[in-house]
Symmetry: C2
Amino acid sequence: MSKGKAIVLLSGGLDSTTCAAAAKAAGFAVMALTIDYNQRHRVELNAARRAADAFGAERHVILPLDLSMFGGSSLTDDIDVPKGDGAVDESIIPPTYVPARNTVFLSVALAWAEAVGARDIFIGVNALDYSGYPDCRPDFIRAFEALAAQATKAGVEGDAFRIHTPLLDLDKAGIAKLAHRLDVDIKATWTCYDPVMDGDSALHCGRCDACRLRKKGFVEADLPDPTRYAA
Amino acid sequence: MSKGKAIVLLSGGLDSTTCAAAAKAAGFAVMALTIDYNQRHRVELNAARRAADAFGAERHVILPLDLSMFGGSSLTDDIDVPKGDGAVDESIIPPTYVPARNTVFLSVALAWAEAVGARDIFIGVNALDYSGYPDCRPDFIRAFEALAAQATKAGVEGDAFRIHTPLLDLDKAGIAKLAHRLDVDIKATWTCYDPVMDGDSALHCGRCDACRLRKKGFVEADLPDPTRYAA
């Protein structure tokens, strides 16, 4: 039975695509929202399109919102994306942090939700990210729900918005398992911050933090990793 | 003495332009942020440019962010802008409410603030608006400050963001007086939701809620109103 519309933030990565699959599995009609923030890894926009198609999203909006005008992140700026071969240091806020990104994304999702009468918003933040990114922590999600209650016509009328975070307590291995269970087309998802071109097709670099965590997740989950890595 | 940079949300209207003047008078270097949300009253973008010039803004960013893709408001949609000759009913949420607009605007301002190391954000919300718009109320502003403390690297490190609302307790007459005192070029500001073209130049319609409140403000403040109204 349909639970009605939910706005699902969909970047095209493994996390957000699995999050969208969870929203659909929970009975929501998926309204997929992709923010084109002029990220370096623009290939993820195509992954988002494929995922929205695969889920039979009721609507898919790709909203241009050029956060690169502000700078301050290696994802939108000339700062180097960190690379390495060892373990990812999850205790520091990495240079790939985009200032206030999830606040902006959830705000735009809230605007769309209120305009179409939806009260449910899905975002694929998870336990692994939130050690490094302030806007992936449960305290942030709760603060945003509190804001939504004050910020909107629906909210002040007592009709609360819910921010769903089905991946919150999962690490990458848990997400890989969930993706598998929900039949996500894993090889169509895009994770890498710094794609390497191989002719016309983009490969995952295999060495940025995001690639290393993705690799490690499949290894730890003991699942095949269909991703094409350059290294 | 400069207090450093402040992000100032500047639409080009009387309120936000007066708010920017207050930020400058308080000693901040103005970083003006205008959101081009594909509003019907696009003439206000030119007013914002003039205002940013007039204040010697350190930088002025006009960020395209097309909220009209979501609909739900007479400012971005095909819903009629309400018109009338009597008093504006300030007790209801009007159809000119844009879902979660100030949440989106403040989020983008927060992103820019964090990227450039600013901790101060100015927004020209006021007492007159907040009876009708949920996101112009003090409770909303406080909820946003609480969110900013959780949402950002600076915030979680204990370096708080301040949302300044110098117009919060003013009605339109109070804003007109403040604008006058701060030498704002009032006739360069744009308020009308539904401009009327007179050859190449745009006139304020004089009949939408925003125009009626602007008119009434100058009358009550006993100040000359240099605005060119069509009616």
